[in-house]
């Protein structure tokens, strides 16, 4: 950055480059904004032609997402009397009554439990392994590291059959514990590789000083190395969380009801006639927002995270 006087682009070049990038960003953003917008449309507005840019916002989609409803004939509807709550009122307009809660909240809860559970496990195992790979002479180090990386190349479906059989015989199928273990294994390669990169950057002299002061290896590890690695651990954790959060293939193959996460659920939200798009969009929005926030927080470490630290920015 210091002296690029010769290569510094001119003002016109910057303006040209900037406007092209902004154009692309706007195109990228459109589908996302459309998802968020559709979540606040009424079912009629969602399928209007031409697509509506300006509409009266409603939370009907969100109500539909969290409830199950049935259509009731006119006379029965009258017999029910006035709707008592605002959400009852909202669905009553369509001639529909709320009959119960949908399974979205449950699925979302599963996503949270499995996502965070596997992330914690991944970080604990990954930090230990990364520390050992970074600091000690582990026999067959390069081979082990490559082995860890190669586990990521397998298509999930390729190992799904025996995992189904294995989980069934261990009583782990369709359980939180099973899915946490599975996602930990899936993300462990990322966790070890990333954390090794971060720990490599902490000067070894700090630990040596601690060891000379009479700390044991463990004390040096958790009193000296861990505090220095906190940013690295945090960004690794968020990457593990995002991958577990978004995973679909294993969730759809290995879970059926009890431990199913949100990604297989959202596409199955059906309304009175076909897919209930405002509800789907509402579910997608609730599900996407945390990831969007993390992405913005993470942007400095983004590149490392998605490339296993193979490229450093």
């Amino acid at each position: 950055m210091s002296s690029y006087s010769v290569t510094e682009p001119s003002g016109r070049q910057k303006w040209f480059a900037g406007s092209l990038v902004v154009l692309y960003a706007v195109i990228t953003l459109l589908p996302l904004l459309w998802i968020i917008g559709t979540g606040f449309k009424s079912p009629e507005d969602a399928i209007a032609y031409p697509p509506k840019l300006i509409f009266e916002p409603t939370v009907e989609g969100y109500v539909n997402l969290f409830t199950t409803r049935t259509r009731v004939p006119e006379d029965q509807l009258k017999a029910l009397g006035e709707p008592t709550t605002w959400y009852d009122k909202l669905v009553r307009k369509e001639g529909v009554v709320i009959t119960g809660a949908s399974r979205f909240a449950e699925r979302f809860y599963n996503s949270v439990i499995i996502g965070f559970g596997s992330t914690v496990l991944c970080i604990v195992l990954g930090t230990a392994a990364a520390y050992a790979f970074s600091r000690f002479k582990v026999p067959l180090k390069d081979d082990l590291l490559f082995f860890i990386l190669s586990t990521r190349m397998m298509p999930p479906i390729a190992v799904a059959i025996p995992i189904v059989l294995m989980f069934r015989s261990l009583g782990l199928s369709d359980t939180h514990a099973g899915m946490i273990l599975l996602y930990t294994a899936v993300n462990l390669s990322l966790s070890v590789w990333l954390l090794k990169g971060f720990i490599d950057e902490i000067p070894i002299e700090y630990e040596e000083a601690a060891l000379i002061d009479g700390y044991t290896r463990f004390q040096a590890f958790y009193k000296v190395v861990l505090p220095q690695a906190v940013t690295g651990i945090a960004s690794t954790a968020i990457f593990c969380l995002i991958f577990a959060w978004n995973e679909y293939a294993f969730a759809v193959l290995l879970t059926s009801g009890n431990a199913q996460t949100a990604p297989p659920f959202i596409p199955t939200i059906i309304g009175v006639s076909g897919q209930d798009w405002p509800a789907v969009a509402a579910g997608a929005t609730i599900f996407l927002v945390p990831v969007m926030v993390f992405t913005i927080l993470l942007r400095k470490h983004l590149l490392r995270g998605i490339t296993f630290g193979a490229v450093r920015k």
């Binding site: 586990t151 059959i161 462990l188 897919q275």
Partner: protein, 315 residues
């Protein structure tokens, strides 16, 4: 946390052993730290893989656990390699792979090149561009079926508006000629930022002194681009292609939700085809052989590619 558990172990064990736990050698600590990860990966990756290989030589079916398991040798493999449907999904996968990589490299590199001009606010726009790849492919794929709806879908409407066609006259996911492109478009939308980020890292790694020297030698901008920029970014670009290649070879969630392999089986990529054989037709042995073939293919291609990558790096 680790320390306290070690303390607990130490206080619960007789003095002699406690002393040994406290004073573990570095080598023992290394093993203690690495072992849990290796054990987990062996249990949930390698063991199932070996099991898959074993099943691939049998006629086992998961939905008939009591039927006798026969070893059929290489029959499953022969059946797969002579099956037209499978060659068709290989073709669909190849089409998907080639076009997504070509488009993502072209657009991704151009974007990185432009962002590297350091205009005002580029950090903000870069973050926006990066958003799609952090989202759930299944959820995104499902929503894109809405965007692709004839008439009411945003995509059809915009394309119709720009080209002057009637937006209800074409359906990206119901037409055999357009469906393969429908998945290419969504994948490019999602993953171009990935290639862009890596190219950007490559561009930023080039020391500006090289350009200054070239400037002194009166090399034209065009020449500088081809003799400095491209060769210096190439290893990064190849790495991006490797990662995208592996990911798209395994592509499942996005396409399952977007087209479900249809219409017909025109977008049935290998992993969708494999899922069908394994979890809809329950031909476990056959599907296992298929899985092994796919794994060997991706592993083989990746190894050859990494060798080429290392050669480029050494230059």
């Amino acid at each position: 946390m680790l320390h306290s558990s070690i303390d607990r172990v130490a206080s619960a064990t007789p003095p002699a052993i406690a002393a040994r736990v406290r004073g573990l050698s570095d080598r023992a600590i290394a093993w203690l730290f690495v072992a849990p990860s290796i054990v987990l990966l062996l249990a949930i990756n390698i063991f199932p893989l070996i099991w898959t290989i074993r099943l691939s030589f049998t006629n086992f079916r998961v939905n008939r656990p009591n039927a006798p398991i026969e070893f059929v040798g290489l029959r499953n493999y022969l059946n797969i390699l002579t099956d037209n449907d499978i060659w068709q999904s290989m073709q669909a996968t190849a089409h998907f792979l080639i076009w997504t990589i070509v488009l993502q490299v072209l657009i991704g590199f151009s974007l990185a090149y432009l962002i590297n001009k350091k205009f005002r606010g580029n950090d903000l726009w870069t973050t926006i561009i990066v958003l799609p790849m952090m989202l759930s492919p299944a959820v995104v794929g499902n929503f894109w079926t809405f965007l692709y709806q004839p008439q009411i879908g945003l995509f059809n409407y915009v394309v119709g508006f720009l080209t002057g066609n009637d937006p209800s006259s074409f359906s990206m996911i119901a037409s055999t000629s357009l469906a393969p492109w429908a998945i290419v478009i969504v994948d490019t939308w999602m993953w171009t930022p990935f290639v862009m980020l890596i190219c950007l890292a490559g561009l930023r790694s080039i020391p500006s002194s090289i350009y200054e020297a070239a400037e002194c030698d009166r090399a034209s901008k065009w020449r500088q681009f081809w003799t400095i920029t491209i060769p210096m970014v190439l290893p990064f670009l190849m790495l991006a292609v490797l990662f995208r290649g592996i990911e798209n070879f395994k592509m499942f969630d996005l396409v399952v939700q977007l087209t479900g392999g249809g219409p017909g089986s025109i977008t049935e990529l290998t992993s969708i085809n494999l899922k069908r054989a394994a979890f809809e037709q329950w031909r476990t042995g056959y599907a296992s052989a298929y899985a092994v073939i796919l794994f060997v293919t991706v592993f083989g291609l990746a190894s050859i590619y990494v060798k080429a990558l290392n050669k480029v790096k050494q230059r």
